[in-house]
């Protein structure tokens, strides 16, 4: 690089030289340029369009593999049969841990032998109950191993509804197809149906940020000090910088994020 002035000089020289070299070529170049302009933009748009289609339509289809559940299950019906709602089957153990998907011995209570003529029922009793094999259910809301989630804390302590995170699966008549991310092995429900990550309902996604979203709201409600508004937070900070001793450093439960420290949700 060199300064503007002498560079301009170079350019003029260069240009002059070129024109001197050959008018004709100069002319052709211009024509081609003119013609080129249109095609170039066209090509640009073509490329852009193609890649957008790939990115938004084809890629999501390729990313997830579709898996059927070993047998179909009618939540809606079972809910009518039990008296304690979800917790009748998805219960809490005495030590506060959550049982999750029921094991065979729970089902056997009613399904010792075939009830009705539903092919799924028959399959269930013949292939699993009688053989004493657990059903290899595919769990839509399965979190990775690094996540610690306490159902007790949310249901027993904070009295939350199952629906808030799991949606209305309890009203479903049959199980939807299980979509598995080919790279991560995650259930699609974790990232959410929308590839762009948009969500309408609280249960549309189950990523860390979705937990955070709710926690932020709640803690703000419970504890005014919990999360500070940008402005008073800044004021505090300025005071803190001016006189570090003046302020108690009480933030959220975490120093770094003012949300919860890593171990609260990670193991």
């Amino acid at each position: 690089m060199s300064t503007l002035d002498d560079h301009a000089k170079e350019m003029i020289e260069g240009a002059a030289h070129e024109t001197a070299a050959s008018q004709s070529t100069e002319g052709t170049i211009q024509k081609q340029d003119k013609g080129a302009g249109g095609t170039i933009i066209l090509f640009f748009i073509l490329g852009m369009f193609a890649s957008l289609i790939i990115g938004w339509v084809i890629f999501p289809k390729l990313l997830y593999s579709k898996k059927k559940q070993p047998i179909d299950f009618n939540h809606a019906f079972h809910v009518t049969q039990v008296d304690n709602g979800c917790e009748s089957c998805h219960f809490f153990r005495a030590d506060g841990t959550f049982s999750g998907v029921p094991k065979l011995d729970q089902c056997i209570e009613c399904h010792e032998e075939i009830q009705g003529i539903d092919p799924n029922e028959i399959k269930f009793v013949e292939d699993y109950v009688s053989k004493g094999r657990e059903v290899p259910w595919l769990i839509y809301s399965k979190q990775p191993d690094c996540v610690f989630f306490s159902h007790a804390a949310h249901i027993k302590s904070a009295n939350m509804e199952c629906v808030t995170c799991h949606g209305h699966i309890g009203e479903s008549k049959s199980l939807k197809v299980y979509e598995q991310n080919r790279i991560t092995g995650y259930s699609r429900d974790i990232w959410g149906e929308s590839i762009a990550g948009f969500k309408k309902n609280t249960w549309d996604r189950m990523k860390m940020d979705d937990c955070a979203e709710c926690h932020q709201k709640e803690s703000a409600k419970i504890e005014k000090r919990g999360i500070k508004t940008p402005t008073n937070r800044l004021i505090d900070d300025i005071v803190h910088v001016v006189s570090p001793w003046a302020l108690s450093t009480v933030k959220g439960s975490s120093v770094q994020t003012e949300r919860d420290a890593c171990f609260v949700c990670h193991k």
Binding site: T97, C146, K156, P244, G252, S254, Q256, A261
Partner: protein, 272 residues
């Protein structure tokens, strides 16, 4: 979430009682799915969240003396609560300080292995997974679901068995309680120690044994009022939550660096 009743979980290790048997190390490995390799004799590559150091007084025979010093993560609070040496340096916020418990936490899946935290820790309490964790066929059966096995390329450290705290809380929630009893949350090492040398509890809670044993001085970053108690590298200002008791002067001296002229007198901490 209320944080006004914050805990300060800490440990008091009685070096007069510690027999150097190594139970705490193994209890920790067994509890936290710590991997092992064919040759673990290079201690600079050996993952031991709890490591028992062997100290000698350097005297010749027969005046020589040995002392064993178990070293978990010190869960440093730093100068102002949470300014631990390692927490502030992690570029990806993979490690954090829980005000509620006073425990330095770590997300193994967030850590991308820059090892800056290891550089910052004077106790060498942080360990890097140089290898993929491999268990001989069948042995992965004993792995605990309460702690996620770490993958190659990340840093890990003692968590004061935080998962035990979580499980205890879940039980409490079922019983509509919020507070835990002292006995409900104990670390694996404290529980296993054959010599009862390790005591664990809430330093903020006057009813807890740890508080009674060392009597931490809140005005001086929890420095012990008990003259027989010391913290490792007190004067660096890391403000650790692990205290050591010893009746032997040379051991207490070995807890921190002293200039020749101050060999006998214990100087106040440099910071705060």
């Amino acid at each position: 979430m209320k944080y006004n009743k914050n805990h300060r979980f800490g440990m008091v290790i009685d070096l007069d009682k510690c027999t150097g048997c190594g139970s705490c190390m193994v209890a920790c490995m067994a509890e936290n799915n710590v991997p092992f390799r064919k040759d673990e004799s290079n201690k600079l590559l050996s993952i031991t969240w709890m490591r028992v150091f062997r100290l000698t007084n350097g005297e010749p025979f027969p005046k020589t003396d040995i002392c064993y010093l178990p070293r978990p993560c010190m869960q440093c609070a730093g100068q102002h609560e949470g300014h631990s040496p390692c927490v502030s340096v992690c570029p990806a916020t993979a490690t954090d300080y829980g005000i509620e418990t006073g425990i330095v936490s770590q997300i193994y899946t967030r850590c991308f292995g820059c090892r800056y935290c290891m550089a910052s820790c004077p106790y060498h309490s942080r360990y890097f997974n140089w290898w993929d964790p491999i268990w001989p066929t069948g042995m992965e059966k004993y792995l605990s679901p309460n702690v996620s096995p770490r993958m190659r390329g990340v840093v890990e450290k003692c968590s004061f068995c935080y998962h035990r705290y979580q499980l205890a809380k879940e039980k409490a929630f079922m019983e509509k309680r919020r507070e835990l009893k002292e006995s409900e949350y104990q670390t694996a090492c404290a529980q296993a120690c054959p010599a009862n040398a390790i005591t664990f509890g809430d330093l903020n809670n006057p009813d807890h044994a740890v508080h009674r044993m060392v009597n931490p001085d809140p005005k001086h970053g929890g420095r012990p009022k008990n003259p027989h108690a010391v913290r490792l590298l007190e004067r660096l200002g890391t403000n650790p939550k692990v205290y050591y008791l010893s009746s032997r002067n040379w051991i207490r001296q070995a807890g921190d660096n002293h200039l020749k002229n101050e060999a006998k007198i214990k100087k106040p901490v440099h910071h705060g």
